[in-house]
């Protein structure tokens, strides 16, 4: 059992930073997975990623003005999400609109950094994450905002699923398709901004897209898919945190230098996705080679 002892050293559980990271990471992973299922279903991955990058600029701007970085992050994220929805009604135009808004926001970020030189290290922390340094006091507000996002998602659940799978039929049935889309993208922005504040921009995208996209290959039913995504997200996060902790003891290639946790979690997210794609029980059972994202997982809605 020496390898197990090496993987899970006893001092792991006594380390307050690690236990806090495990808790915060699990909350971020569950909220991201639930939001991410609809992000993947609606083809919003670019917007989901861009919103966090844009929030980065907002955080920088807020610090410059002497405000709390969290509020700058949230404001920029929500504004960006609304802008993407407003400017990009159709998928192709949304792609370009997202790109232009993202470029503009990154430019603003460069400008804020130029003005506030004392802030130079901050973008690295925001971008690559510092889950081990996550402030324990941030856990309750994070959990609260996450719970609020999940509650909005629960209310939106049926109309949102209907609109995502079959927008024309939903519109014909009187579902306010644009309003539902706007509400969802704003909810997503709030959830993603919250996660990015704690685990970093990079990990928030990894946790938003990776588990949900993997779950789509493993089950065709939306409710089960969200549950599978949440479970995968929590497992990827915990495995990444444990491996990052272990890496402090690794002697190759340089000893005494921990590997970043964002490396482990992002690579795990990609690996699990590729594995799920390879396994692909959904497609095999139905004898088709389409991902379930284009398959209607909600046939009774159309009956």
């Amino acid at each position: 059992m020496t390898w197990l002892g090496a993987l899970l050293p006893p001092d792991l559980w006594q380390n307050e930073q690690v236990t806090n990271a495990l808790l915060v990471g699990a909350v971020a992973a569950v909220v991201s997975a639930a939001l991410g299922y609809f992000v993947v279903l609606r083809g919003l991955s670019f917007a989901g990623h861009a919103v966090t990058d844009i929030g980065l600029a907002g955080g920088a701007g807020a610090v410059l003005l002497g405000l709390n970085a969290l509020w700058g992050l949230l404001t920029f994220c929500v504004l960006a999400a609304a802008g993407v929805d407003l400017l990009g009604e159709r998928a192709r135009e949304r792609d370009v609109a997202t790109g232009v808004i993202l470029a503009l926001a990154l430019g603003c970020g460069a400008f804020f950094l130029y003005i506030g030189t004392r802030f130079v290290n901050e973008p690295y922390i925001l971008l690559f994450g510092s889950i081990f340094e996550a402030d324990a006091g941030l856990t309750p507000p994070l959990a609260l905002i996450g719970a609020a996002c999940l509650a909005v998602l629960a209310v939106l659940y049926r109309p949102l699923l209907f609109c995502s799978v079959s927008p024309e039929t939903a519109a014909a049935r009187g579902v306010p398709v644009r309003l539902v889309g706007l509400l969802f993208i704003v909810t997503m922005a709030v959830g993603v901004a919250e996660a990015a504040q704690v685990v970093g921009v990079l990990l928030s995208t990894a946790l938003l897209i990776g588990p949900a996209a993997s779950a789509m290959y493993l089950t065709a039913r939306p409710g089960r898919g969200i549950a599978v995504a949440a479970a995968l997200g929590v497992m990827e996060t915990w495995a990444g945190i444990v491996l990052a902790y272990d890496s402090y003891y690794w002697t190759w290639p340089v000893s005494g230098k921990g590997w970043p946790v964002s490396f482990f979690i992002t690579v795990l997210a990609l690996g699990v996705y590729l594995l799920a794609r390879l396994v692909r029980p959904v497609g095999r059972r139905r004898g088709e080679h389409r991902p379930p994202a284009v398959h209607n997982p909600f046939p009774e809605a159309l009956a």
């Binding site: 919003l44 792609d95 996705y273």
Partner: protein
Amino acid sequence: MDALFTQAYMQNALLTGTIVAVLAGLVGFFVVLRGVSFATHALAQMGFAGAAGAVLIGVDPLWGLLVFAVGGALGLGLLGAREHGRDAITALLLVAALGTGALFLTLNSSYATAAFTLLFGTIVGISREQVWLTAALALGCLAALAALYRPLLLATVNPELAAARGVPLRLVGVLFLVVVGATAAATVPTVGALLIFSLVVGPAGAAVHLARRPLTAMLLAGAFGLLATWAGIVVAYNTGWPVGFLISAAVGLLYLAARLADGRLTRPTQGARSTAATSIDGRPAGTAPAR
């Protein structure tokens, strides 16, 4: 104002900016038409991770950039070509590459400021050799784009017809992404991952709203890019503000102005006036959920 054109470093900046803006505009036309802005963003960032890795093992960052950007393009093309959830795999490859880049940066702590330059770009401090290198790489990208032009255009605006004519859709798509990756690799060392992205997506996004023919749109995109770049460099020279911010702001304004001029800021109508928009209307852009 005279010093702007006589100082060697400003000449280098203007020359590089010109090359990059034209290349980005021409490539950007197809990026916008094919809806691969996210892939472009991802490829530029992947190049950044590759450069960090190259420095770690002690080779020229350009090789790392090329390997990661072109390898990323191949990976995206092969994994995402037939998938409707293409942007999901783009996001995952992007974060995995950036995570790897974070690892490289951690293992090699001396690299942080250079990494910052690769992200945000510095248009001053470009040597004459770099100008020639950028020019040579840009010529290679343009030659590849010219060779791909006709099949790529047909495959983009009417994939069914292209397939019927025997155009290998998948191969053309992968080759185009490789050109985008090579463009990113050629331009990231001088202008930064952020700036090349604004120059690829913004001017072309504006141009397809105004032009009715593909060649006009490409030329217009190149012209918009040039305008934004020159204005950005001149203002940066006079104010000392970061050139990345100025150019992306100019590009954003151009895009908004073009959309306003096209008269459909919020509501794209059926029967849109620009050729580029109508020609792909019948095709789901890869992200629309199908029934």
